[in-house]
């Protein structure tokens, strides 16, 4: 089991007695908005710490990992991702630098762009992209780093339905093939039914259902 939560409380947003996440290749978190899904991802990504309770990653308490070591393994994609460079190429370069990884080429970037169905050039200004394009560039720069755990906050929220289906299929495929496991928040659980092996419903900060 990758993540285990025990009596985790965060403000009045989240209160989870017991939850195990991420054993399957792809886990989908769903539930009404404002229910605490994003907060749960942020806790797992060590962006915030719980007020009470313990979170384990691979059997070790989260706080016993040096922060950078943990973020090397577990990386997250925000729902409204920010661009960190000027061009699409520099988005990839920044990500590689932040992760202290190198040896990538334009070809690697271009491959990821193609996989994301992004018809853009690497020199294109990343701030000029639409919301959906930014989301895909941000997902691509995250995938470049191949972390062992990817936490995705509604990665298809700004996409049209065709692109959304395509990307979800792709993620499901990727999770089965590559070493990366995925925990993702989704606004449409019916779309993730086929690809997710574990589905968790979070409502009012609590686990309301699991299958």
């Amino acid at each position: 089991m990758l993540f285990e939560l025990e009596n985790v409380v965060y403000k009045d947003i989240l209160n989870i007695e017991s939850l195990q996440l991420g054993e399957s290749d792809l886990t989908a978190l769903s539930g009404p908005s404002g229910g605490g899904k994003t907060t749960l991802l942020r806790l797992l990504a060590n962006l915030i710490s719980p007020d009470e309770g313990v979170i384990y990653y691979k059997g070790k308490k989260l706080e016993s990992y040096p922060p950078l070591e943990l973020r090397e393994k577990v990386k997250m994609l925000a729902q409204n991702p920010r661009m960190l460079g000027d061009t699409i190429r520099s988005e990839f370069e920044q990500a590689a630098e932040f992760a202290r990884q190198d040896g990538y080429s334009d070809q690697d970037y271009q491959e990821l762009m193609d996989l994301m169905n992004l018809d853009k050039k690497l020199e294109d200004d990343s701030e000029e992209l639409s919301g959906g394009e930014k989301q895909r560039v941000a997902l691509a720069r995250l995938m470049l780093l191949e972390p062992e755990m990817m936490l995705l906050d509604e990665p298809t929220a700004s996409l049209d339905i065709d692109n959304e289906k395509y990307l979800l299929d792709f993620l499901g495929h990727r999770a089965r093939q590559a070493g990366s496991k995925i925990i993702m928040v989704t606004h449409a659980p019916e779309l993730t039914e086929d690809i997710a092996q574990q589905q968790v419903i979070i409502e009012d900060g609590r686990v309301k259902g699991e299958e």
Partner: protein
Amino acid sequence: MEAANDAVIDIPLIQLIIAYVFVLVLVAIVKSQNIGREKQVLIAATRMTLQLVLIGFVLEYIFEAPHPAITLLILLVMQGFAIQNIFARVSTKLSFDMKKTVGFSMAAGTIFSLFFFLLAVIGLDPWYYPRYFIPIGGMIIGNSMTGISLGVEHLVNEIKKDPARIENALMLGASPTQATRSVANQAFYNAVLPTINSMIGMGIIFLPGMMTGQILSGVDPLLAIRYQIAIMMGILGSVTLTVFLLVRLGIRTYFNDRMQLQVDAEE
């Protein structure tokens, strides 16, 4: 009086009083135009007179009997006022940790630069000789104060403006230093820019105050420019050092030991 040789022309008290004609003219103009600020003009002129008379006597007293403790006390008072002034000038609210960082950066950066300048460049002996120590200290502290005010304001505002951007970098595995690099660099640049600009205009657009003063008091212009160049280097060094400390240490006040950003970034 004839402007003979290089001696300073004395201003007798009577002639000094004549200078107040300017104030009367200004008050008359303000009054005739119904601007209604004559009281403020008079208060400002009076304040300036009293403050300068007071500092004149203080300096006279200190220069006559130089003492290291008194020099250090004055340095301390200048630092205190400068730090207070930064807090008053910055329009955003500063956390207690950030205030401590401002104080430390000011003190450490200016004291190091001041002593380096006085001892290595001027070769001041004894080191506490107030005729040099106090005015040079004032220039270094004053300019660093401006630099830090700009730097801290920019830093705080930029982090608040889009904390999610910093967090997005953390999500990819960036260290706090990496995640805040563009914010930190921009704050640093904004803070040292006025100093750099003033060096560019110096001698052409304006003659700096210290150099003007030295020339008026009979110092050879070629010696006066040496002092001016040296003090500009001292100011540049001090501004750079204080702002660098501020930005580096200031960033740290925004992260805890789990490298989590302590500003709410959730949308």
